[in-house]
């Protein structure tokens, strides 16, 4: 957002669907029978005015403009005589979308009318150190806080390598954790045990990589009594 004037103007609408709803209401037309030519013309006039102020944000508005124009052109096509009643109204999908949006817009207003804590009703203010928690138990913590903590650091230290965490690395950690869990429980496992019954290719690769990693780190040891025999894996211990 670069233009302040544009922002002010846009503030009235929460998006293209909101603008469309506004036009339908302003013209006092039936949402189930939208006079598409009229509404399309007004909609385009409106976004033309907005476009002169800012081109950036108009993207989503332009998509709907294209949809409206397309519907208008389809409405102009003569309806085939035979399949008259079977023919789908070109406006149907749009009406559906509008009604759905309208429902949620009203739901949002409904939420805003509720007795909101800190605005309409209040609880007691708690001095921070009043309660010290139990060290052994921990309440549920939002995952967002954890990711936020990680992100905070990666910006603080400016370490590029931190940013490169991807799903592959995490999946491997998953397998490593599962294998350590299993070994802690059973003491010793075979390679086949660790693969599990419903093993797919992906799982096989991750299991294999996880065991290699664990061996490299000397967390597990692998034994084989005879060549090509069963591979036994156990925790390396101290």
């Amino acid at each position: 957002m670069t233009s302040t004037a544009y922002e002010i103007k846009l503030d009235i609408f929460e998006g293209p669907l909101d603008l469309l709803l506004y036009l339908i209401k302003k013209n006092e037309v039936d949402i189930y029978d939208i006079p598409i030519a009229l509404i399309t013309r007004q909609y385009i006039e409106y976004i033309d005015a907005m476009k002169t102020l800012n081109l950036d944000l108009a993207g989503e508005y332009l998509v709907l403009a294209a949809t409206l124009t397309h519907i208008k052109s389809r409405m102009l096509l003569p309806v085939s005589e035979e399949e008259d009643e079977e023919e789908e109204d070109p406006r149907e999908e749009l009406v559906r979308q509008l009604l759905e949006y309208k429902a949620f817009k009203e739901a949002a207003l409904g939420l805003d009318r509720m007795k909101i804590l800190g605005r309409d009703v209040f609880g007691r203010d708690y001095a921070g150190d009043e309660f010290e928690g139990d060290a052994q138990t921990i309440g549920e913590i939002g995952i967002f806080e954890l990711v936020e903590a990680f992100r905070r650091m990666s910006f603080d230290t400016g370490q590029k390598e931190l940013m490169e965490i991807d799903i592959e690395k995490i999946s491997l950690s998953d397998r490593i954790n599962d294998i350590v869990d299993e070994l802690e429980k059973k003491g010793e496992c075979t390679f086949t045990d660790l693969l599990g019954e419903s093993s797919n290719r992906r799982r096989l690769i991750y299991t294999f990589l996880a065991i290699l990693e664990l061996m490299k780190l000397r967390i597990v040891k692998a034994y084989q009594s005879v060549p090509y025999g069963t591979i036994r894996i156990c925790l390396a211990g101290e």
């Binding site: 929460e14 009604l99 949620f104 605005r119 609880g123």
Partner: protein
């Protein structure tokens, strides 16, 4: 226990979040659940009838003391600050998450017709919305839902206390 009501009132009062009956039961081991429940409801009625500044409310599956609505302007004056409110955009995104959860970002965007990155991020930071996990479809997108704090903030006991989506039901019917 002859002062059961006083003990329960105390426990509710000193908790910084709504305290559940189950939690109270753990602390008052020997007391029957039914007794606890009836004491709580008697307290709720008492504060209702008294009609003072504080009320005992059922919030997010637990119980909490809260002020009534009529005195809000004076609290705001005491705190000397305007309450932080959500923008209409944030409120719309929150509404979609609340009614459609678990929901993907792309689904919210389809309903609202706009990019919701900013409002979603704001809601995550305010801890009204959380990442619930991933949907088991290609790309495994993150799914979002509301938090306990959402219930506390909007004074709801459970999600089913949300008003029904009236208009939308008409369409589906």
């Amino acid at each position: 226990m002859d002062n059961l009501k006083a003990v329960i009132e105390t426990l509710i009062f000193v908790s910084d979040t709504p305290i559940t009956e189950a939690r109270i039961k753990v602390i008052l081991q020997d007391i029957k659940e039914k007794e606890i429940s009836s004491a709580i409801h008697s307290l709720i009625r008492e504060y209702e009838e008294r009609d003072g500044g504080i009320f005992l409310r059922e919030i997010a599956g637990g119980y909490q003391f809260r002020t009534g609505e009529t005195t809000a302007p004076w609290v705001q004056k005491l705190r000397g600050q305007k309450p932080g409110t959500l923008s209409p955009a944030a409120m719309e995104t929150l509404a979609v998450v609340a009614y459609r959860q678990p929901v993907m970002k792309s689904e919210i965007e389809k309903v609202r017709g706009v990019d919701v990155s900013g409002s979603l991020r704001g809601l995550l930071e305010k801890n009204l919305v959380r990442m619930m996990g991933r949907k088991n479809v290609p790309g495994r997108p993150i799914i979002y839902g509301t938090t306990r704090k959402f219930l506390e903030t909007f004074g709801l006991n459970t999600l089913s206390d949300l008003p029904t989506l009236r208009e939308f039901k008409e369409l589906e019917g």
